[in-house]
Amino acid sequence: MPASLLLAAIALPLCVAPALPALTRRFGWRTSWLAALVAGLSAAFTMAAGLGADWSYQWLPSLGPALALSLDGFGLLMSALIGGIGAAILIYAGGYSRHDPHLGRLLAWLVVFVAAMQALVLADDLLLLFAAWEVTSFASFMLVGHSTHLAEARAAARRALLVTAGGGLCLLGGVVLLADAAGTWRLSELAVMTDHSLYPAIAILFIVAAATKSAQFPFHFWLPGAMCAPTPVSAYLHSATMVKAGIVLLVRMQPSLSGSAWWELPLLIAGGLTIVVAAWRCAVAVDLKALLAGTTLIALGCMTVLAGIATPSAMAALVVFLLAHALYKAAAFMLAGAIDHGAGTRDLRVLAGLRRAMPWSAGLAGVIGLSLLGLAPSASFVAKELLLAVAIESGPLVVILFGLAAISFAFAAVRVCWAPFAGRPSSRAEHAHEVDRASLIAIAMVAIPALALGPLLAAAHAVLEPAVAAAGGTITAYQLGLWHGVSAPLVIGLFAITSGLIAGLLLHRRLRAWLRTPRWWDAAAWHDALWVHLVALAKRLTETMAAGGPRAAAALCLAVTALLVLGVIVTDPERLPLPAWNADASPLDLAALALTLLGAGGCIAARSRMAAVCALGAVGTGVTLIFLAHSAPDLAVTQFLVEVLTVLLVMLAFRRLSDGISDSGSKLIRAGVALSIGATVFVLVLVAQGTQLGQPVGAWHAAAAIPEGHGRNVVNVILVDFRAFDTLGEIAVLAIAAIGAGVLLARHRKLEPAT
């Protein structure tokens, strides 16, 4: 039963999603309540399943990976967040996007996303983890590009997909190497891998994957771009859940991959640089959602740094911070969407005085502001205390980074939750209106827990402890408490909040002027340029390959043949039994040789097509002579007929074309190709003369022709009896050629009068 509940947590949303567009056409925005119910149920299912539940299905038994799910504390926490926040967001989407004609599609992809995310956190199999990862990337692509009529949205969607899917491929590489190295696909069976020869490659691949998904430097640019998605999408995917997938991956891999510089350094560098770059972005942001996206980047940077430190206390801080951040950031984004809807803009420079027009929103903004500031009694206060304590353990650099993060959060809290509502109402504010009830309920559903959870955390230690333990951390109820006396973290935190408040209230205009971003400093443009250059390079390469048309391609084929044959001879000449040189030649042989050489020379010297064709005919006649000299009159006759006919037909065909031979391209190269393929065939003929390796079946054919085939002409018996199937095919070739020629000629006749 618990096992099937786990499965249901993924299968239910997956099954309902395809029906949502049709239901929305029928029931309108109310369908969002159904979608929310599904998301909530999926979380309820995992909770009902209970810790330790597992389920598996052998999907690819010949390779080893299975669809395996298992529920540990961390998975349960994540699953609850995914379902709970998902439900709130889906309710919000029904209000926010009420007039969107494609609301059904939006809901459907959001619900698919819930399923994929549940699979990702419940997966106990590397491959299932990867599969879920890819589905979240793709769902994100569809959601970012939801407003398909906006070129900006399409570009952002493509960017987001290319970055996250590129990371996904790194993940696949890492997963395959890891499974190969560890000998298992099960996450729970992975051993410590740091001593394996492939360890550095595996660690880097996993880190790159996590960095792309969680938008860590240098892949941080796609996340702010993804803000052109509808706000419910930003709130859910790009702040609360999907971007956490990278962190989830780091947490899952930490037991087997952490503990070396290959793990620690890249994560510290990526996370640290992300915090700095994103703090800058926050300071200069004029768009409400861009500012919030910046703080999301900072939060993810902090988590990445914590995952790099990977001590038990760091992992504990990570889990608590992840929980707090997911709640308040989803609320903050929904609030931003509400402001956008109510006031008609997200521009921070014009938003002011909304408190009268949007009282409920203003109240919720206060609740969210406390969390964003990191003030007691919010859950984020507890998280911040834990973070700073870890920083103090780990050295001054981390203290500075986390301090910068706290300052930025406080700055953002003022700009998002205070400034739009305070001050004199601007012209915008006069036309502003409160948003619909569904949106307010949805915001309250996550904003209030974010605040109220703070005092409860210590009491909920028993619930939280398994989650922390599953992530490789340890935590005590005391650490989860609100008050630890006047400690270093408290002082640093208060200092950071004060600085943030000052910056947000007084210095924001100046900050924007001081920190003006240089034009070249745009990673999104760098990313686009990279692709442009790559495509240009591809174009150059492709054009080079196609240059010269069929003639060059034919020469290439011949050159490759010569090269390969030569390569075989050179690499292992001992294995090649060459025949003894036989210098005896009859006068007829010599005549044939002379004629052939003459023909070849004439072909080279010819200045007109007709002359070249005739010269080629002479070569063929030379071959005829050789057949004659070696008592094969039937072959000689056939060869001669074919030569004559070929020359005649080709001359007829060339009748209409200009007679000159175009002399494009390097003669040297052409001569080289011709000589090398000539030499190749010469060697092959020579080799064919050597000792036989097996008895030819021809002997059997000759002996069996009369008694078995009842025919005196062996060749005929072979053609129509022993190997009659070949003849069937050859006749088919002739018939098809005749049909084809007939069709072409008929077309030609039809076209002729017109031209």
């Binding site: 398909t148 491929l169 395959v176 390959m545 072409l744």
Partner: protein, 509 residues
């Protein structure tokens, strides 16, 4: 069982003759083509059901013993490919009638299509190298006629490139065959393999190596491998939509199939071939996908993708061993279905919006068509849980297991670039708002040929376990050269110390 093995070749050829007889009624011709290809599908499935992964069926044509006569041998791979080939022709014919609603395609269209099917089935079933050559010629000449059939100057130009390079391949193949027969005295694949093994053990297999070099180049040209693929992008975007979909699905795969047989049965233990193929495979993946990335016409993009996917297949063949060949078998089947499907959708985009992506737009309002495009496109890019994911995973896993990390890296980069160009088509053709809104609908019946193939992709992805199990045993069987020989009754020669064909000669008075 014996009649079953030969019937996928004879039935389409008969169908072609029959269709020619009804040349004045395009509808009857289409019906004949549908019934014939359906027949091939049924035969293929019954073969598949009878053989499973471990079975072999053999027909010695005319009752002549191998290697004096020609034998047709079907293992699971041949049976599966015959089925898929029949399905592709069936879909193409249905697509032309249902989706494109084209009028008379010319009275030779269906006969040529059926002749092509006969040739393809022949190539998949024969166990004789010269016979393989003959079926290659059937395929070449019928595809040439299909390519040039409409007689537009662009098509004629394309068919010149196509025929010129493929004739070079045929010539090389033939020279190689001459050398094989001159040295080994036989053309039966299993027999050549046996003699090559004996000669290699004795240290004088070099002359056969030279012959194999020629076969390798010939098959590589047919498969569209780097740097010999010039004929493919020059021609695949020119014929009518149904024809290019069939080409995309079947033609290059015959070359790949020949490469599988070459490395496992004709030249067992020739490691140098696999070393060459590793390099060729990686370069083919990269050059193909780079070519796709810079194109701006749907069918050109898709054509270059064929090349890059051929690279995956060649890389898999190069890795060698039952696991890698099993992955190749899986990939091969997946690839035919997906590629044909994409070309079918590409034909619709082309028909309704024009070839270049800058003109294509706004197809998202056709929901069913969107699904019919997205499923194979994502499958091609290897997104789980579609068939392409299991296929790509198999190759990458085999490469990692054989410590060919270069292949792993190139395969992953190629995957990203594949996604790039699929998304390019999707965004341009489906998301970009159209200049004028399309009113008419593109309903279920019109989309059904494409949806059918898309469903197959999904099923193959979800049921990857059974399919992979099957391909694993097929891969093992392909490597088990002795089983093949025993069935081809060559084992008498292995057992007896007397010269190979004495046993046969003795049976005469």
């Amino acid at each position: 069982m014996n009649a079953l093995v030969v019937s996928p070749i004879l039935l389409p050829l008969l169908g072609a003759v029959l269709a020619l007889a009804w040349r004045n009624s395009p509808a009857s011709q289409a019906r004949i083509a549908l019934w014939t290809s359906a027949g091939v599908i049924v035969i293929g499935i019954s073969l598949l059901a009878a053989l499973g992964g471990h079975g072999l069926a053999i027909t010695q044509l005319g009752g002549w013993p191998v290697p004096a006569g020609i034998a047709l041998v079907s293992d699971g791979l041949s049976a599966a490919l015959v089925t898929i080939a029949g399905l592709m022709i069936f879909t193409a014919v249905a697509y032309r009638r249902l989706s494109l609603r084209e009028s008379d395609p010319g009275h030779c269209f269906h006969p040529l299509l059926l002749a092509l099917l006969g040739g393809v089935c022949g190539a998949f079933l024969t166990a004789d190298l010269f016979n393989l050559f003959v079926w290659f010629e059937v395929i070449l000449i019928s595809s040439f006629a299909l390519l040039a059939m409409e007689g537009r100057s662009q098509q004629i130009r394309a068919s010149v490139s196509y025929v010129l390079l493929n004739l070079i391949a045929s010539a090389l193949f033939l020279i190689g065959l001459g050398l094989v027969y001159g040295k080994a005295g036989t053309l039966a694949m299993a027999d050549v393999g046996l003699i090559y093994q004996q000669a290699s053990a004795a240290g004088n297999g070099g002359s056969l190596d030279l012959a194999f070099a020629l076969l390798l180049v010939a098959f590589a040209i047919k498969a569209g491998a780097f740097p010999l693929y010039a004929w493919l992008p020059a021609s695949y975007h020119t014929p009518s939509h149904a024809v290019s979909a069939v080409f995309a699905g079947l033609l290059t795969k015959v070359g790949v199939y020949a490469l599988i047989r070459l490395t496992t049965q004709v030249a067992p233990g020739a490691d140098w071939i696999r070393e060459v193929l590793v390099v060729i495979g990686m370069l083919t993946m990269l050059m193909g996908v780079l070519g796709a990335a810079c194109q701006s016409e749907v069918r050109r993009i898709l054509s270059y993708h064929i090349i890059s996917q051929i690279g995956y297949l060649i890389a898999g063949i190069a890795i060698g061993g039952p696991t890698a060949i099993a992955a190749v078998v899986f990939y091969l089947i997946h690839h035919i279905v997906v590629k044909t499907n994409l070309f079918l959708v590409g034909g619709i985009i082309d028909r309704h919006r024009g070839a270049t992506l800058s003109r294509a737009a706004g197809l998202a309002s056709w929901t069913l068509l969107t699904i019919a495009f997205l499923v194979p496109a994502l499958s091609l890019a290897g997104i789980p849980p579609l068939s392409g994911f299991a296929a790509k995973l198999g190759i990458i896993h085999a490469a990692a297991g054989a410590e060919r990390y270069g292949i792993v890296a190139v395969a992953l980069i190629t995957g990203l670039l594949t996604l790039y160009s699929m998304i390019k088509i999707y965004i341009a053709a489906f998301w970009t708002p159209p200049e004028r809104v399309v009113r008419h609908r593109f309903g279920l019946i019109r989309t059904s040929p494409m949806l059918g193939l898309a469903a197959l992709t999904v099923v193959m992805g979800l049921a990857a376990g059974p399919v992979a199990n099957w391909s694993q045993s097929v891969g093992t069987l392909i490597h088990n050269v002795d089983a093949y020989r025993r069935l081809a009754q060559v084992e008498t020669q292995i057992a007896e110390p007397t010269p190979p064909h004495d046993a046969l000669v003795r049976s005469q008075p």
